[in-house]
Each structure stands twice: as structure tokens, then as C-alpha cells.
């Protein structure tokens, strides 16, 4: 079981390393999209500080969703997905490995880029630390939910748009508590409540999403 997880995970990481430019696109999108806000909203530090957490979270969300559309599509078209499901390993393990690899390739760079981008929006050091911690808990949720969406829209035309419509509503709790944590720290209260809720959300999603993905994959292949 862990052998299948390791096989799928290392293969996906290796594939991403072979296509570095493609793998970096989400984080580039993230940086560019966030940097548009000071231009559009105006450079007043006061305004930027207020909207910073929300802007970073929304852009991270969109960057995750953009890259998740192809999570299963290529494996589906070249027959790898069939082989994974025929291997006798539980499909939930395959789904978990794919989501973990997606987070490593997309989510982790977003978390690393967030402090730099936060500085651009004049966030305080305490707010920056909270933002990073919240993203660390929240981005895996996005990868897991994205996996469900990618599996549900497998083989459909205009899968990309449909996936975003399906999954974005489900990511709203992560968005609320993630940006809420930064807001709490900014107004001088503890963010531990937000972190607990984000943690609970992560555990819940980690338990449910691979199961849902596995069922969706089975249906897609029939």
C-alpha cells in the first residue's frame, strides 16, 4: 500500500522536474496576480494592508485550481490511470498520492512565495507568519478538493471551467478561516481558533477527499 503511494508520488515529482517551466506556472501566476492589486487598487499602504490576506488567499486558491485541472487528464489519456486502478492497490491510496504530489509541486511553492508577496502588500511580520501558517494548513485542502474535481470532470469537454465551478464553493471555508486568521492577528486577538478550524478542515478533507476521488475515478473509467 505504501509502495503504491511512494511509486505514484515519486513518479509525479519526477515528471514535474522534467517539466520545470510548466510546474512553476502556478506560482508565477500567483506572484503576478497578487502584484496586480497594488496597481489596480492604488499603492496606499493602509488599503493594501487591509486587503492583503484576502488577496493572497484568493490568488493562491486560483493558482491551485488552475494547475489541478490536469491532475488526472494525462494519466487518463495515456492509459496510466487504468494501470493504477488495476494494480490491486486501493484507489484511495493512489488518489492520496496524487494529491500529495500536487501539493508538493504547487502548494508548497505558494507557501514559500507568500512571505515575499506579503511584504509587497506591506504586511506586518506577525501577519506574515500567520499567513504562512494558515496557507500551510489550507493549501493541502485545496489540493485534496482539486483532486476530487479533477476526477469528477475527467474526460469531459471544458473540464477546466467545470472543475472551478464545482470546487471553488467547497473551498470557501478554507478561504474564510485562512484570511480570518490574519485579520485576527492584525486586530490583536489570537488566531488559534482559526487555526483549529483550518486543522479540522484539513483532517476532514484528508479523510473524505481521497475516498470521493477514488469513486469518481472508477466511474470515469467505466
Amino acid at each position: 500500500m505504501s509502495a503504491a503511494f511512494a511509486a505514484v508520488y515519486t513518479r509525479d515529482i519526477r515528471l514535474a522536474l522534467r517539466r520545470r517551466v510548466e510546474a512553476l506556472l502556478p506560482v508565477v501566476f500567483f506572484v503576478v496576480a497578487v502584484s496586480l492589486f497594488p496597481v489596480g487598487v492604488g499603492p496606499e499602504p493602509q488599503t493594501l494592508r487591509v486587503i492583503a490576506a484576502g488577496v493572497v488567499w484568493v490568488c493562491a486558491l486560483l493558482a491551485s485550481m488552475l494547475s489541478v485541472a490536469n491532475l488526472y487528464a494525462l494519466d487518463h489519456s495515456d492509459g496510466s490511470l487504468e494501470q493504477m486502478l488495476l494494480s490491486g492497490h486501493p484507489p484511495t491510496v493512489i488518489a492520496a498520492a496524487k494529491a500529495a504530489a500536487h501539493w508538493t509541486i504547487t502548494g508548497a511553492p505558494l507557501v514559500l512565495a507568500a512571505p515575499v508577496i506579503g511584504l509587497l502588500l506591506d504586511m506586518s511580520p506577525a501577519a506574515l507568519a500567520t499567513l504562512v501558517a494558515a496557507l500551510l494548513l489550507g493549501t493541502p485542502v485545496l489540493s485534496l478538493l482539486g483532486g476530487v474535481g479533477a476526477a469528477l470532470t475527467l474526460g469531459l469537454r471544458s473540464a477546466g471551467v467545470l472543475l472551478i465551478l464545482l470546487i471553488l464553493p467547497l473551498t470557501i471555508p478554507a478561504l474564510i478561516f485562512g484570511s480570518g486568521a490574519v485579520g485576527a492577528v492584525d486586530s490583536g486577538i489570537s488566531a488559534s481558533g482559526h487555526f483549529s478550524l483550518l486543522g479540522a478542515l484539513l483532517i476532514f478533507t484528508a479523510l473524505i477527499a481521497p475516498l470521493a476521488t477514488a469513486v469518481a475515478l472508477r466511474i470515469a473509467l467505466e
Binding site: L15, R18, D78, G79, L85, G88, L221, E222
Partner: protein, 226 residues
Amino acid sequence: MPKDAAASAARTVDAALDTLACIDLACRRGNRLLFKGVNLQVGAGQAVWLRGRNGRGKTSLLRLAAGLAVPESGHVSWGGVDVRRASVYASVRVYIGHANALKEDLTVTESLQFLARLHGRAHDVPSLHGALERVGMASRRDALVRTLSQGQRRRAALARLALERSPTLWLLDEPYDALDVDGIDAVNRLLHENLARGGSVLLTSHLPPGAGAPDVAEFDLDPFAG
């Protein structure tokens, strides 16, 4: 299925592999019933050639046999147990579909290694190189899959068969597709070995398996058209 052909293809085996049985099988694609009333058995040491016109459902039948799809009616069983429930089935079934399941951005060896690891076969580099040599891909083993020709990709996909050590059930969708004479010979040798071990083979091909192929029982899907 002609009984005499099946009997001639059957070989004596000791550790008998279970029998794949399709019982009163019907398959639907969209609104069209592809076939119905198909009864087919593939026993240990037996090779069956599934033939039929284009669009008759050869690939669909193979996918049903692999347990990838659910039949419209009837069932597919392995040793009497439904293939989608038989836990041993995953380890004895080797399904190579129309798609080669190779990754464009990996090398031939890496692609094969992933499949071998996934299916719990030997995946050390000497074994993989040995398998690639069996299908005449030794010189291209470190090439990226995207640089290979169609026939070379097919060979690389079929190299999985050379990793098999124990008798297994091979479900092959057009294994000879895009292969040259050498490639066909290599595949035939692998088929012979599996049958001699007591394994079994169900393959589709739009052309009759030629000289050098093992004795195959023929199963024509055309009379079962829905």
C-alpha cells in the same frame, strides 16, 4: 469457440491457474448494445484470439474481463468469484490496453519501472534492462518515451510481459499493433513462455496471429452482435 482448437491449445500444468469465465455477457456503449450472450472461458495454458469486425466490442470485452468496466448483464468470474471482488485477481491479471501507459517525459526504463513497482513485479534495474532486451529495446532503454516511434512504444509497453515469472492471465489489446517482424517474434516468444508455464492469454487482433504464434482458440464476436 471450437472445442478441438481449445483442447489443442490447452497444455498440462501442475500449479493450475484459475479459469477466467465470461457468462452470458452483454455490453452496452451509450445506446448501442455491442454484444449479448457471450460465453467464453480461458483456462490455464490456453490462448484465445478474440476476433470481430471494427466496433464489435473486442476492446470492451477485454475491459470487462480486466474488471475495468461493469457488464450490462451477465458476469465475469475468476475461479468462480466475480473479478471485481476476487482479491487475487489483481496479482494474476496483466492487462495491456490499447494505450501504452508510458509517460512521455520519462525514459523507457523509468516508465517500465513505475509499472513494475505499481504491479509488484521485480523492478530492479537489471531485471528491467533484461526485459527491455527481450523485446529488442536495449539500445533505447535510456531514451525519453516521447522520442520513440509508435512501434518502439508498443515494444516498451510489452516489455512488462518479460518481467512475469509465474503463470498469469494476460489480457492483451492488439499486442501486434505497430510491431515489425522482429517485434512480433519477440511477443510470440513471450506468449509461448507464459503458456508453457501454465499461464493463459486472451488477446484481440484484427489479423490472425501469424506463423510463430502459439496455437490459439478462435472466438468470433460477430455472431453475438446486439
